[in-house]
Symmetry: C2
Subunit: 169 residues, 2 copies
DNA sequence: AGTTTAATTCATTTTGAATTGAACAAATTT
DNA sequence: AAATTTGTTCAATTCAAAATGAATTAAACT
């Protein structure tokens, strides 16, 4: 991704924006979100006034395609909301500050999904162990049990995390 | 990744192994671990007897390079231990069943790292807001505050997770 | 209606990570 | 010590995800 293009804004503003963008790009890396999406969110988050499509494109030096695609994703997950000034045709975007929702969505779409898929698999495994050669059965049964333990423990952890993140705001 | 090569083992054994491998490959996807590494761990985990390098290579149909590389990683994070039968030259591998350690390592290397990097960035941002144009300052200050909140909340969550996962074995 | 501006779509390209495979090293056997 | 077997390393390849940009649609203005 090319460096930020700065136009003629105060240097501090640009620097602030860059720093925010970097923050989000970094964080996104951890959870496997594309850089461009994180950068778009970052630049919107870093702007006091709602940002237009064109502004985002210009500030980040991204292609129209990436901006469109990124904004679509961000709207879908509710990370960004459109602030239509009916007077104008251009769409303006502000961050949806309920970051809790973001995390919720993430947990749901990734962790939750994986957990229930995993549940099915573990159940399947439990059935299969029964058909194993007697010599190996007890060992393998132990292994599958481990899997079950971890699965249920993780499952139990999820609501805890949810609750915790819900606490303030 | 090519399908499992089965050699002449009982069909149930192969099926069991495949299922376990799939379980781990799936889970790995969630946390961004390479398939091959997950598959190697899976096949070791699914085997009652320690597995040799050659066995892993054959069962998964991976290249020597991948197996070597994968085993290296798995050893480094303590997911797998070498069960040397001094009589033989071939290295044999068993799963290190302390999966807790695995998760610990993961949390440490990824989450922890990101959290402290993020901490620095947030501190930096806090300083920068001061230099913003007065008109925008209060808005931006609010935003940075949000970031701080989330950062500290996540930081607080981590030990909770650790404790929880430590509970039983 | 025709022109301009704004944004989306999607086939192609780019990029970066994962995997391969061939060359190499180390230990073992004959 | 030559040949063989076992595993490592790393440059080259492959592959999938991400980004691009040109074609297209949609809306607004003349």
């Amino acid at each position: 991704m090319p460096a930020l293009r700065t136009r003629e804004r105060p240097a501090e503003l640009a620097a602030f924006e860059t720093a925010v963008v970097e923050f989000f790009v970094d964080a996104a890396e951890l959870v496997g979100v594309p850089k461009s999406v994180a950068a778009i969110y970052g630049s919107i988050f870093a702007s006091a006034a709602p940002l237009s499509f064109a502004e985002i494109e210009a500030r980040l030096g991204l292609s129209k395609g990436s901006v469109s695609q990124g904004l679509k994703i961000l709207r879908e997950v509710g990370a960004v909301k459109e602030v239509s000034t009916k007077a104008d045709r251009t769409e303006l975007f502000s961050p949806d500050l309920e970051m809790r929702k973001l995390i919720e969505r993430f947990l749901e779409s990734r962790v939750q999904r994986q957990l229930s898929a995993g549940g099915d698999r573990v159940a399947d495994l439990r059935r299969r162990v029964a058909a194993m050669p007697p010599a190996e059965q007890s060992t393998l049964q132990g292994r599958v049990k481990k899997l079950e333990q971890w699965h249920s423990r993780t499952r139990a952890l999820l609501p805890l995390v949810r609750t915790f993140l819900k606490l303030g705001s």
